[in-house]
Symmetry: C2
Subunit: 311 residues, 2 copies
């Protein structure tokens, strides 16, 4: 089986309290692919410029990821983002967003990418997400990410594409913005009415929640003594979740499968933020992931010990 991701490939300049990088490989599709490639063959669809070299392609191809649909635009420059994180790492300021080749990106999927078993639509213009869905030949599971900008300026398209996917993965604040509801549970239940079977609410340092028609699940983030760079955490998380689904082609994608998937996404995202950009996940091992999922299980478990209550 295989998994296709469509989204940004970028160079990032990032400053955090832990240090600074002037130019490193980034982008949603990149972080997603590095995580998802632990689970299945990944096809990356996204644009880069002439400045994107063999070194960057080599990182993208980690664990056999296919880059045939990485479109290198002649004379173009790769998407560039420059940002700086505050001391608490929870807020960030964007200094530069040069869309470059990403501005006129028109996803063209090869037959192999169209035939993928599982599809992830990273954060791009909702109309393009719908266009990609139309190119695909019937994936078993589809998920999407988005952002506040599209909720503001392309809400109708976004609502439409949400109605066509199985799973929505957004930040808490975006879910509230999209629905106008303060309660994440109520907001997620409204999203379910639009069509998807699952809503994953990303909560940054606090972890993530899952709402399906079967119920609710919540998983805290893995606690870290040191966070170097939060960039890409959400995309690594998505790569782990969607990759885990892709690795279980015989199972229904139900509440139970997604809870296990979220544990893997949470584990990989926690490694992602330990170092800058792709540095940590590029050299991550399967054993390290398995061990961290085990730790997550221990640190969320409490014994069922009923107590005699008064009154």
């Amino acid at each position: 089986m295989s998994l296709t991701v469509v989204g940004s490939i970028a160079f990032d300049a990032v400053k955090t309290p832990a240090g600074e990088r002037e130019r490193m490989l980034g982008g949603a599709a990149t972080h997603f692919a590095l995580a998802a490639s632990f689970f299945d063959q990944v096809h990356v669809v996204g644009p880069v410029g002439d400045d994107f070299g063999e070194q960057e392609f080599a990182i993208l191809r980690t664990r056999g990821t296919n880059t045939d649909d990485v479109e290198q635009v002649p004379g173009g420059k790769t998407f560039f983002w420059k940002g700086e994180y505050a001391d608490d790492l929870n807020t960030r300021e964007t200094h530069v967003t040069d869309l470059n080749v990403f501005e006129h990106f028109e996803p063209k999927l090869s037959q192999a990418s169209r035939d993928a078993d599982v599809l992830f639509l990273a954060n791009i213009v909702p109309a393009l997400q719908r266009e990609v869905l139309g190119q695909c030949t019937g994936p078993r599971f589809t998920a999407l990410d988005s952002m506040d900008l599209w909720i503001d300026i392309a809400r109708e398209d976004l609502v439409d594409v949400i109605s066509r996917v199985d799973c929505v993965m957004l930040n808490d604040a975006e879910i509230r913005q999209l629905t106008g509801k303060a309660s994440i549970v109520s907001a997620a239940r409204e999203l379910l009415e639009w069509g998807p079977t699952a809503v994953v609410a990303k909560q940054g340092e606090y972890g993530a929640g899952l709402v399906t028609r079967e119920g609710f699940f919540a998983l805290p983030a893995f606690p870290l003594e040191h966070v170097a760079d939060p960039t890409g955490a959400g995309d690594s998380f998505a790569g782990g979740v969607v990759g885990y689904v892709a690795a279980h082609p015989q199972e229904d994608v139900d509440h139970d499968l997604l809870t296990r998937a979220m544990a893997y996404g949470t584990a990989i995202a926690s490694f992602n933020v330990e170092e800058f950009g792709t540095e940590r996940v590029a050299r991550l091992t399967a054993d390290e992931i398995t061990a961290r999922v085990g730790e997550l299980q221990r640190m969320t478990h409490f014994a069922d010990a009923p107590v005699a209550l008064r009154g």
Copy 2:
């Protein structure tokens, strides 16, 4: 066995997106006692004014709570707080803080309160918390809460009293402010070096974390479709946690016991915020708590299902 809490008893005026109350019973000791009384005999120590009537005493005495040490100051007025919550319920603005009789509060504990097995020092001046500790005859477990104000203006006293208790329960932001560390794990480990054996980090709508020398535990908040009034959530949570400890006099207060305690605290706090002030917890039943703890266990559980990872 018994449990003593020292802290504020108040009248609150609260406005939230769900509604408004002009004057209702509140205060840290009140919310704490209502929760803790499910587990053990509670003694409340705190000041009230002439305006505190039989109706309020009756609520305080729910489930047999002892109010012999509620000092009614002749001619005084009860602590009054007026605040308003923003639409997302995560931020609040204080409009009025009339300390009244709370301003010159000098805790005087009866012998029964001094002899309690477990002691909770709610958020009061750190020097008074130390003074109360000195009056007690050797509780098996002591915990405290505090606030940003004391970190700002009475840091030395606060650090000193922290060194004398078993458990510190603070908000994430307060833990960061107190230690200057961005990582809650690192910050909590620093607090452990000061003396306590446990640090509970309260994270509002996201739940709570526990750090001990034995490890880390995290529990999400119980997901609610509707939150009426977040006031007192942290104190109900503390009442559930500390109450659960009091209900287990034969057990060491170790990591495992505190994880179970946090499940009860989380369950009771979730009921607290469903209605205004003490309305919901005053008529809460033991069965409702037990059922919600069970739901918490289900919604945090994921199956241990190893997957063959690539690479």
